[in-house]
């Protein structure tokens, strides 16, 4: 049986970038998995944002976050899919990157699409974040592009981004 977990595209930054785009995603898979290792190139921890099909207003989120001191939960609507606070900055421990995964099932379906996200920004300091998010892309169009960004600033050199396709048959 064929292996069905296939790398579609990998990007590793040789210079800082405000966003990273996966475009023209082929319509040949069942599900998508996006895995990233990210750091900000300036001071100030950031949320990791995902714009599905370039949309900044069709995402909603129910999130669970731990800071090392407390666990909290909240919701957000009409915005990006996002995992809060998991992107370390230059104010955090050097050479630490946040890690995150998004799972996007049935990305070609003509229905609103659930998305699962999980990320961590551990940095061997007093405050670091772990976050899980249930998200929804409220559009019925197939997903053909994904854009990753920060609320403020740019991804640092060395940040890496991997998009995989999964076939269920």
């Amino acid at each position: 049986m064929a292996n069905t977990y296939t790398l579609i595209e990998a990007q590793t930054l040789a210079s800082s970038a405000a966003s990273v785009t996966f475009s023209a995603i082929p319509a040949t898979y069942t599900d998508l998995v996006l895995r990233v290792s990210v750091r900000r190139d300036a001071s100030g921890r950031q949320d990791l944002r995902l714009a599905v099909n370039g949309s900044t207003s069709d995402g909603s989120n129910t999130w669970l976050q731990g800071s090392g001191a407390a666990a909290t939960s909240g919701t957000s609507t009409a915005q990006y899919v996002r995992i809060n606070n998991i992107v370390p900055s230059t104010a955090e421990t050097a050479s630490t990157f946040g890690s995150a995964e998004f799972y996007l099932p049935s990305y070609l379906a003509s229905a609103n699409k659930p998305i699962s996200g999980f990320g961590v920004g551990e940095n061997n300091a007093t405050t670091a974040y772990i976050g899980a998010v249930a998200s929804l892309y409220s559009q019925t169009t197939a997903i053909s592009s994904l854009v990753l960004s920060l609320a403020t600033g740019s991804f640092d050199i060395g940040s890496s981004f991997y998009l995989y396709g999964i076939k269920n048959s």
Binding site: L64, A71, S73, T75, P105, L136
Partner: protein
């Protein structure tokens, strides 16, 4: 690492009509771990997804943490007849819920553990849940039974079982 496929679909069920349950049977013992991905809606809102192995109704427990959008909490259930994959929200009739269930060393002779992530955002409300489950049974897992606390899985529900080989 040995060459060859390490992440393979074993079986997929896409419901063409409503069904009370989804079963994967005769699971081959040729993998290291299993991964189950379920994207589900239900005939009536509010049903919780539950899982059992090998048709057995004893010796399940799980520990969970969840965010409801207004609170974060954790709890556990012991001596159960199944493992919950939901806690608060349950299935919608229109917006699919996503479940990612990893089942480790399913063919071994130790107790079986699973790791679940549930994503149920409802555009302004919802639930995100992570849980660990234990089935205190040493038998290899040969079948997986997904069922609801009430009602039926709706048409269009998709469940896929993948096998993962360590090498």
């Amino acid at each position: 690492m040995a060459a060859g496929a390490t992440y393979e679909p074993i079986a997929t069920t896409t419901l063409s009509s409503a069904a009370a349950s989804i079963t994967f049977s005769s699971i081959p013992a040729t993998y290291t771990d299993l991964r189950l991905v379920l994207t589900a809606t239900s005939s009536t809102a509010g049903a919780d997804v539950q899982i059992q192995f090998n048709g057995t109704t004893t010796a399940y427990s799980h520990t969970y943490m969840y965010g409801s959008g207004s609170a974060a909490a954790s709890g556990q259930v012991t001596g159960a007849t199944y493992i919950y994959l939901d806690y608060l929200v349950g299935l919608s009739t229109t917006i699919p819920s996503l479940y990612e269930v990893d089942i480790f060393s399913y063919a071994g002779s130790t107790f079986k553990t699973l790791l679940n992530r549930t994503a149920e955002d409802r555009n302004g409300s919802g639930e995100v849940l992570a849980s660990v489950g234990l089935w205190r049974n040493t038998a290899a897992i040969t079948s997986i039974y997904l069922f609801l606390s009430a009602y039926n899985f709706a048409t269009g529900t998709i469940a896929t079982l993948y096998g993962i080989k360590a090498a």
